[in-house]
C-alpha cells in the first residue's frame, strides 16, 4: 500500500505463487487456439477472468470483450500486488509497473491528438500503474495536449513532457512527446536500485530488457533504412550498447547481428539471429527476445524464493498470458489457422 515500513515479501510471494498456479498452461493454449472468439470468452468466464467477463459482457462482444476483459484483469491483479506490498518492496514493484502509466499517458495523448471519444480512450487504458483514479479522470477530461501536460506537472513525466511540448508545437507530430514519456520511465527504472543479491538479479533482468529494446529499435532502423538518428532513440541503462556504438551499428545490419551474437545474449538469441540473417524477418527476433526474457523471469523466481524476484516473475508471466490470449483472439478474428496462431504464441 505504501512505501513506508519494512517490506513483506513472504505475504506477497505466497499470494502470487497461488495465482501463478491458475495461469494457463500448454493444454489450455492448445484448446484456445481451436476456439472461436465467443468460445474463448466462455472459456475465460470459467477461469480467473470470470468477474471481468461478467462485468463487461453486456456492453461489449466478440474480440473487444476479450481484449477489455484482459486489460481489466491485468490492471486489477497488478493493482492488488501493489496494494499488498509494503516498504522497499513496493518501490521495486512500482518501478516496473510504471510502464502502464507511460502507456496510459501515451494513449491519452494520442486520443486527444485524434479527437477520439472519451469513453473510447477510457476503455483502452490499463489502470495498473501508480496513477490513482482521480489523476486518470483528470487526464481523460483534458481536452488539449497542453492540458494533459499540465495534469502531469507534478509527476516524473512533468519536466520531460514540458520540454518536449515546445518541440511538438513546432513540428506537430507526437513522436517527441512519446519519446519523452518513454525516456522518463526508463530513466526511473534503473536509478537508485538498492538492496542485496535478489535486487541485483532484478536489476540484471531490467538491464536485459533495456538491451533488447535497444537492439530491436536498432534492427528496425537498420532494416527500414530510414534517415533517423538512432542515438535519439537510445535508452540509457543497458549493458550491451552505448549511445555511440548503437549509432554506429544501426547503420549496418550484418555488423549489428554479429555484435548481438557475440554478446552475453548470444546463446539465447542465436537461432533467431540466424533466421534474421536468412529470412530477413524481425518477428522471429522479437519473439526470441520475449521468450528469452520470459525464460529468464521463470529462472528468477526460483533462486531467491522469498524476495522481489518471484513477484516480478509472476508479473511477467501474467503479462505474457494476456498477450498470448490477445494474439489468439485477434488471430482468430483475422482468420488465421490454429498452427499459424500457435507460432505467434510465446510459451516456455
Amino acid at each position: 500500500m505504501s512505501a513506508v515500513g519494512s517490506s513483506n515479501p513472504e505475504y506477497v510471494v505466497a499470494r502470487v505463487r497461488a495465482r501463478r498456479g491458475s495461469l494457463y498452461g500448454d493444454e489450455e493454449y492448445r484448446k484456445l487456439t481451436r476456439m472461436g472468439p465467443a468460445e474463448i470468452a466462455r472459456f475465460m468466464e470459467e477461469s480467473s477472468y470470470a468477474d471481468e467477463i461478467n462485468a463487461l459482457g453486456s456492453r461489449h462482444g466478440g474480440v473487444d470483450l476479450i481484449e477489455y476483459a484482459l486489460n481489466r484483469n491485468l490492471a486489477s491483479q497488478f493493482d492488488a500486488i501493489l496494494d499488498w506490498s509494503e516498504g522497499s518492496l513496493y518501490g521495486l514493484i512500482a518501478r516496473y509497473l510504471r510502464k502502464f502509466d507511460a502507456w496510459n499517458v501515451k494513449t491519452v495523448i494520442r486520443g486527444v491528438y485524434t479527437d477520439a471519444d472519451q469513453s473510447a480512450v477510457e476503455s483502452d487504458l490499463i489502470r495498473a500503474g501508480e496513477f490513482d483514479d482521480r489523476r486518470i479522470r483528470r487526464l481523460l477530461e483534458a481536452d488539449s495536449i497542453d492540458a494533459v501536460v499540465e495534469v502531469l506537472e507534478d509527476t516524473i513525466y512533468g519536466d520531460p513532457l514540458q520540454a518536449a511540448y515546445a518541440e511538438y508545437e513546432e513540428t506537430g507530430v507526437l513522436v517527441p512527446l512519446e519519446n519523452a514519456v518513454d525516456r522518463a520511465f526508463y530513466e526511473r527504472l534503473l536509478s537508485g536500485l538498492g538492496g542485496g543479491e535478489p535486487t541485483r538479479q532484478y536489476e540484471a533482468f531490467l538491464k536485459a530488457e533495456v538491451d533488447f529494446r535497444n537492439a530491436t529499435n536498432a534492427l528496425r532502423l537498420a532494416r527500414s533504412g530510414a534517415d533517423i538518428d538512432p542515438a535519439a532513440y537510445f535508452i540509457e541503462g543497458g549493458e550491451l550498447f552505448t549511445r555511440g556504438s548503437l549509432a554506429r551499428l544501426a547503420r549496418n545490419l550484418d555488423e549489428l547481428v554479429e555484435y548481438i551474437a557475440d554478446s552475453q545474449y548470444g546463446d539465447e538469441l542465436g537461432p533467431a539471429l540466424r533466421e534474421l540473417e536468412e529470412a530477413d524477418s524481425l518477428i522471429a527476433f522479437e519473439h526470441a527476445t520475449d521468450a528469452a526474457l520470459l525464460a529468464y523471469g521463470d529462472r528468477l523466481g526460483t533462486i531467491h524464493p522469498v524476495s522481489i524476484t518471484p513477484i516480478i516473475s509472476y508479473i511477467l508471466a501474467k503479462e505474457r498470458e494476456v498477450e498470448n490470449i490477445r494474439a489468439i483472439a485477434r488471430g482468430k478474428e483475422a482468420g488465421l489457422s490454429a498452427d499459424e496462431i500457435e507460432s505467434e504464441l510465446v510459451i516456455t
Binding site: E10, V13, A18, R19, V306
Partner: protein
C-alpha cells in the same frame, strides 16, 4: 567492541553475577529460543495468511507450518528440567 564485550562477560562472571546461576542461564536459553521461534513464525505466518487468502483449503497446512518453529521452544524447555 568485541574486547569490550569480552571484558563485560568476565566482569559479570567474576562478580558471581546472575549468569553463573544455572536456573537464570536456563531461563535465558528458553527466552532466546522463543525469540527465534517468534521471528521464524513471523515470516511463515504472513506467507500462510497470504496463501489462505487465495485458497481457503490451505488453512490446515498453513496452521501446521506456522506453529512448527514452536518445537524449538519445547526442546529448549527440556533444559529447564535438566538444571
Amino acid at each position: 567492541m568485541l574486547e569490550a564485550t569480552n571484558e563485560l562477560g568476565n566482569v559479570a562472571l567474576q562478580a558471581g553475577g546472575t549468569l553463573t546461576d544455572p536456573s537464570a542461564a536456563a531461563a535465558l536459553a528458553v527466552g532466546l529460543a522463543a525469540l527465534g521461534a517468534g521471528y521464524a513464525e513471523r515470516g511463515i505466518g504472513s506467507a500462510a495468511v497470504g496463501a489462505m487468502a487465495e485458497d481457503d483449503d490451505l488453512f490446515v497446512n498453513g496452521l501446521i507450518l506456522t506453529v512448527l518453529p514452536e518445537t524449538i521452544v519445547i526442546l529448549a524447555l527440556v533444559v529447564v528440567f535438566i538444571v
